[in-house]
């Protein structure tokens, strides 16, 4: 059975559903207790989904490319590859793939018999059209653009086969192509122009976009000609159980949770830590799907004082005890991370001892670095300059619990003599503050499948701003040795060497005290008692509602 690539892991983990389609290692769903695991699927019904994210401005995840787009696009778009339960990249819309000896030609063969929602057939032309779409500056893609950055051109060989010419070997290409931000859309639909395509992208997924009532809901309906790229003996039919999904946006966390409690919505995302704890008591389901790529961390800007001094960076990190705060604020839903990478990334390494709090050592380091004096308010000073740290925080990207954690960091740092100046900013101003280098520390989540995210966020190339002003290397790490390690790690064909190179690279960053890892990028979903079949996700941990049905 081909569907073995999709298995399901349950935390309360008893029986895997025969039809379960969990893709991702580390994602776990605790199902409502009373719900029988072997309930026969019910066909029909519209699931109401409530997202806490800001409403996307475009439903095509090629455009821009953020997580909220991925969450909804995972229902109507599919990628060439995906990730199985063991964390291995496996074909999805693709049937097979080969790499040339020199690592510069990637051949991808598509599955036969798959059609887009507009009725057109999935062919190798689609690969070409989509990659070119991502690379077109007018598309304004940022995430997908980077993912296919090494692709020079796409050559359709026959109806189902395409050859990708690369500028350099890229062992992360398949991981990149597994993400919704590089998902495959109908070439005909892409030609309609961005305004139209943004309203209703056309893909191959189990649902299609019926309409988008701005500020209200995206209405998805079942795609009746859906062909499951992998065979599943457990399914009598390939189409989704649900008639459709109403995708709503309810930014206010308490309202979202209240709506779930009263049964007005079936699934909510961005669940607040405190409600997760009470939801399980209330018989609601919980899906914990940490995002791949980087862990959630605070990056220390090493390009300007005072964090240009590694000792000050270490002193800052040693002066903080964040564990107690994480425990109380996240109610045990967010285990502490000591790694640069998400816990779902097998190549991540953790070095706990580097982050253990040590106030005495911190004080010593600061005294030695010349920050021995303190001013009237208790902050350390050097040459009349206060030890101040600007900390812009995006209210869109940091949930309240995280903002509170930052406040606690601010309070603890004050004891050690640091003045942390938190600025709560909207996304636009936050990007602006980063672009103008008005920060000493920042928390900027980055989701990507695979360890190649390290390249994006720590290679010195990423300190050069794009024309828009954005750069992903917020810690401003510029280290030739690190650059070399990352480049080689990204190009090697040898899995063991790759792992070893990435480990070395991570050690350099960790030991340089450039970042303070906090926890995985949180991705918690709560769902009602009448929702069954939750658990399957894409490679970036966005849930898929293909297997989901409503029991009443």
């Amino acid at each position: 059975m081909q569907r073995t690539i999709r298995t399901r892991r349950l935390v309360t983990g008893t029986v895997a559903l025969p039809l379960a389609a969990a893709l991702l290692a580390g994602c776990s769903a605790s199902a409502p207790g009373e719900q029988a695991q072997d309930t026969a699927p019910v066909i029909g019904g519209t699931l109401v989904y409530a997202s806490g994210d800001a409403e996307p401005t475009c439903l095509d995840p090629h455009v821009g490319g953020n997580y909220p787009q991925a969450l909804v696009a995972s229902q109507y778009l599919e990628s060439l590859f995906t990730k199985d339960a063991a964390g291995q990249i496996v074909p999805w819309l693709a049937e097979s793939t080969e790499l040339s000896e020199d690592g510069l030609t990637r051949t991808i063969t598509l599955r036969d018999g798959i059609t887009f929602h507009d009725g057109s057939k999935l062919t190798s032309e689609a690969i070409k059209a989509n990659i070119e779409h991502l690379q077109n500056p007018d598309t304004k893609s940022s995430t997908g653009y980077l993912a296919v950055g090494k692709v020079l051109q796409v050559e359709p060989v026959d109806e189902l086969t395409a050859e990708l010419q690369l500028s350099a070997p890229d062992n992360a290409l398949l991981e990149s192509l597994s993400m919704p931000w590089s998902a495959i859309q109908s070439p005909d639909a892409l030609k309609r122009g961005q305004a139209v395509n943004c309203e209703a992208p056309v893909g191959t997924g189990p649902f299609k976009v019926e309409s988008w009532q701005h500020q209200q809901a995206v209405n998805l309906v079942r795609y009746e000609d859906y062909v499951l790229p992998a065979q599943d003996a457990g399914r009598e039919r390939d189409t989704a159980y649900l008639d459709g999904i109403t995708w709503r946006f309810i930014p206010e966390a308490a309202t979202r949770y209240a709506a779930l409690q009263s049964g007005e919505v079936h699934v909510i995302d961005n669940a607040q830590p405190d409600t997760i704890a009470s939801a399980e008591g209330a018989g609601l389901g919980h899906l914990d799907a940490p995002r791949p790529g980087a862990s959630n961390r605070i990056e220390l800007n090493s390009s300007k004082a005072p964090f240009d001094d590694a000792a000050v960076r270490e002193a800052f990190i040693r002066s903080l005890d964040v564990n107690a705060g994480i425990d109380s604020l996240f109610f045990g839903t967010a285990p502490r991370s000591y790694s640069l990478l998400s816990s779902v990334e097998p190549l991540g390494i953790a070095q706990e001892q580097l982050f253990s709090p040590d106030a005495a050592k911190a004080a010593q380091l600061l005294d030695d670095a010349g920050w021995g004096e303190r001013d009237a308010e208790g902050y350390r000073v050097k040459d009349g300059q206060r030890l101040s740290l600007d900390f812009p925080v995006s209210t869109n990207q940091s949930v309240p619990a995280e903002q509170s954690l930052f406040e606690q960091i601010q309070a603890s740092a004050k004891e050690a003599g640091f003045e942390v100046r938190i600025q709560l900013l909207d996304l636009s101003s936050w990007y602006g503050a980063l672009a103008e280098h008005k920060y000493n520390m920042v928390s900027a989540p980055y989701t990507k499948v695979g360890p190649s995210v390290l390249q994006v966020i720590f290679h010195s190339d990423s300190t050069t701003p794009a024309p828009s002003g954005y750069f992903a290397n917020n810690a401003q790490v510029t280290d030739d040795e690190l650059d070399d390690l990352l480049t080689r790690a990204g190009q090697t064909n040898d899995a063991a060497e790759r792992e070893q190179l990435y480990a070395q690279a991570q050690r350099i960053v960790l030991e340089g005290h450039y970042v303070l890892p906090l926890y995985d990028q949180q991705n918690h979903f709560l769902y009602g008692k009448d929702v069954a079949g939750m658990g399957a996700t894409t490679a970036v941990s966005s849930p898929i509602y293909y297997d989901v049905f409503l029991t009443n």
Partner: protein, 265 residues
Amino acid sequence: MSRWARIGSTLFVLLLLLVALVPGWLAPGDPLAIDPAEAFQSPSPAHPMGTDESGRDVLTRVVHGARDSLVIGIAATALGMGVAIVLGTAAALSPRWLDAGILRLLEALYAIPSLLMALLIIAFTGPGVGPAIVAVGLSTAPGYARLVRSQIRTLRHSEMLQAATVLGRGTLLRVRNHLVPNALRPLLALITLGVGQAVIWASALSFLGLGTPPPAPEWGAMLAAGRTYLHLAWWMSLFPGLAIVVVAAGATMIGRALGGKVNAA
């Protein structure tokens, strides 16, 4: 104003001033001191108003927050009043065409609802306490300005001013001795009403993430932060909320006692 209202409101104002000026006297603790192990404690003798998500004492924060909240309310009202007195007086004493022009300007200011105005200003300036004060102040100005204008116009043609004219009082004396003090008298009541409303609007901006930055113990920001935990820790939002309500309600009562009407709020 009845005797009890007078005594009550005087006591209220004194208490508020006391709390704002020497918060340490009522709540000796540090409003910013965190203690994650003590997070989300319900009200108890040790923490009469419980603790918040970082284990900070809510009572201490409410007491220390009085200053920030009141400063916002008072500064915004003062700004609004200042603009209003200038524009309102100018309109009332100007020739017809200028009066009409100022009136249109006021109407234009008035035509944009307060919070929309605040958001507009913030769209141009970015968030923060300063913009919040300016926004709330400016958006309340037209209401006050109209009152000043109508007050002055009414007074200008009142028998009181005529009597002063008949008694041979010159313009300066009429304006200084009668017109200005009597025109500003009803504003006095409105100032108190306005402070209460300004505190509420500022808290709305905090709710929208555009007000006082954390961790300052400003009531609106505390209320906004606490509402996330309404299910878990009602005390986090109840007490700062009560503080706002008490100040706004107290201000309303004093304003009413001083003879203010709600219409120009």
